[in-house]
Symmetry: C2
DNA sequence: TTGACATGCAGGTATTCGCCTGCATATTAT
DNA sequence: ATAATATGCAGGCGAATACCTGCATGTCAA
């Protein structure tokens, strides 16, 4: 898993919106997704390409259309291998901070 | 909470490394952190500034030193408000994808 | 007070990013 | 076959990013 690509992909509001749109209705075409985006089709294509590079979206061609599906695996892995690490220490980290801010 | 700043901050390997370093030993000075980074001090300062902007790190001045502490709250919020949404649908999303890839 | 140390600030540069326009290709419908 | 539709590809452009160097400021210790 490439944490870098995943985090970079998530670091843009348009791409997070695309994931949201696919979460509401999985398997949408490029055209369908574009209708909700307010930018040129080509820009959306680029964003979807980045999501695909990060393996957050997988595509299937059907005739002249391209269907887009969320792949939840990388997000899960990012959570498991990265976020949980800090989650485990969350309270003690918060304690460090609070103590120091109080002038400890 | 600003998901955008948080995700953008996490979208760089140096900044994730800084968080890792602070996770091992919270409250380090700029100089201490730099020793583990292999880049100019000023570059590290910029990265720490971005982490601070995203509220992922809080700092306290002590004399001529600046101490850096992890703030786990934004990461927790990003998880709660953003990642969990996909986590909830994880299995059904995986099902969609698998089914389509099989030619369903 | 003076020198060493820790950090701050200004600016410069090459690369990447996010957006665009214009044109090409592939598929479906008439 | 032809026209409409859905997507792909190439290139341009301004802004942001990630790095740097050089110098200034503030703090501690002798």
């Amino acid at each position: 898993m490439h944490a870098d690509k995943v985090f970079k992909a998530l670091g843009d509001p348009t791409r997070r919106k695309l994931l949201d749109l696919l979460c509401e209705k999985n398997g949408q075409t490029l055209g369908e997704l574009c209708e909700n985006l307010d930018m040129a089709r080509q820009s959306a294509t680029q964003h979807l390409g980045i999501l695909e590079e990060a393996n957050l979206v997988s595509t299937v061609r059907r005739g002249r259309e391209k269907l887009h599906f969320i792949n939840p695996v990388p997000l899960h892995e990012v959570y498991e291998r990265w976020v949980r690490k800090f989650e485990r220490q969350r309270l003690s980290l918060l304690h460090d901070l609070k103590k120091e801010l109080e002038g400890g």
